[in-house]
């Protein structure tokens, strides 16, 4: 039977659950003794010669400025990194997701010399000369027939072109409506 003491009997007290764990404590002590007899308690490690003599408070306090600077800058570094990441993602979206925007901006650069804004801030066309048109057509028109037509659009050359009646008839049949057709035939 467990015997317990309390303060009213003799002034002593014991830790809570003392007697409940005592058998386990004794068993632990026995096992510990066994380990001690076999292995001892010597710590089997060593240190380089003079190791502890080289450890002084200065070694650690000298590192203070770098550590403090890092800790002071830490929140600002996080903010800066965040801004850079957001800016990077924004740039990525602009260049990759909307390719039309990129093409349009290129077009704007090319056509800016033809466009102007007047005093009311309305967009107007500048003077465009034949050389500009020719240059643009050279860039964008691949069809040889179309180019031939443009090249002969000089008045003298047009006068010298010979077209037979069958070609005129076929053209009118393809493109003119009935009233236009009758008008042209009457003129002939």
């Amino acid at each position: 039977m467990k015997k317990t003491f309390n303060i009213s009997d003799n002034g002593f007290s014991i830790p809570e659950n003392y007697f409940e764990s005592i058998s386990e404590d004794i068993q632990t002590k026995i096992n510990e003794e066994n380990l001690y007899r076999r292995f001892g308690k010597k710590i089997p490690f060593s240190v380089p010669l003079g190791y502890f003599n080289n450890i002084s408070a200065e070694t650690f306090t000298e590192k203070k400025p770098a550590i403090q600077l890092y800790h002071k800058l830490k929140p600002y570094l996080s903010i800066a990194a965040g801004i850079i990441i957001i800016f990077g993602i924004w740039q990525l979206l602009l260049t990759n997701i909307d390719p039309d925007t990129t093409k349009f901006s290129k077009l704007n650069t090319d056509t800016s010399k033809y466009l102007n804004t007047d005093s009311n801030n309305k967009l107007t066309l500048n003077d465009i000369n034949m050389t500009d048109i020719s240059n643009e057509l050279d860039l964008y028109i691949d069809n040889t027939d179309e180019l031939t037509l443009i090249e002969i659009s000089n008045e003298e050359e047009v006068k010298n072109i010979e077209i037979d009646s069958e070609e005129i008839y076929n053209y009118l049949m393809d493109y003119a409506d009935e009233s236009e057709f009758n008008e042209i035939i009457a003129g002939l």
Partner: protein, 182 residues
């Protein structure tokens, strides 16, 4: 100068806000005890040296916040234990890709360590201790080698005395079984 005198002297410097003098005394008084506490957890000298430095750097950084509610000794051992555990966890994480667990790696490294000068029996004991779960290993070292009281260990590890007793009991039993197998 005994430990109690040094501790009261350190506290006196802290009250006067003379942190440099307090820290000088702390390093001189505790460097060896903290080193051996750390070394028993991380085992390798170079690792123990790294952790000891981190411990003192942290102690210096937070010395102004030390309120004196707990013993300086408890406060420092708490920092050292946490730094050792953090260090081991980092090493384990780095070792994740490796086939052998970090404990096996440590066990093999221990044999090649030039600063391990134990005999065969001590090597067997260290290998058996390495097989314990991390917290049980720390408790075993503190109780078996350092002969610390359960109340002190309880303050350092923030664990109840009952849990510590149970943990130590299991640790001793397991080590006995491990060494029987060898």
């Amino acid at each position: 100068m005994n430990a109690a005198n040094t501790e009261s002297q350190i506290k006196h410097h802290l009250i006067k806000k003379d942190y440099t003098s307090a820290f000088n005394l702390i390093v001189e008084e505790y460097k060896e005890r903290l080193y051996w506490h750390i070394r028993k957890i991380v085992l390798i000298h170079d690792d123990a040296d790294d952790v000891l430095q981190n411990t003192f750097i942290k102690a210096w950084r937070y010395i102004k916040d030390f309120k004196g509610d707990s013993k300086l000794y408890t406060w420092l051992f708490k920092i050292a234990t946490n730094e050792s555990i953090t260090f081991l966890n980092k090493k384990k994480k780095k070792n994740e890709d490796s086939i052998e667990p970090y404990e096996i790696y440590l066990s093999n490294k221990l044999e090649a360590d030039e600063y391990f000068n134990g005999d065969t029996a001590q090597k067997i004991l260290q290998k058996a201790i390495l097989k314990l779960p991390e917290k049980q290993r720390i408790i075993f070292n503190m109780k078996y080698f350092d002969e610390m009281k359960y109340t002190e260990i309880s303050e350092i590890l923030d664990t109840s005395i009952g849990a510590l007793k149970a943990s130590y009991h299991h640790a001793v039993k397991k080590i006995e079984e491990f060494v029987k197998e060898l």
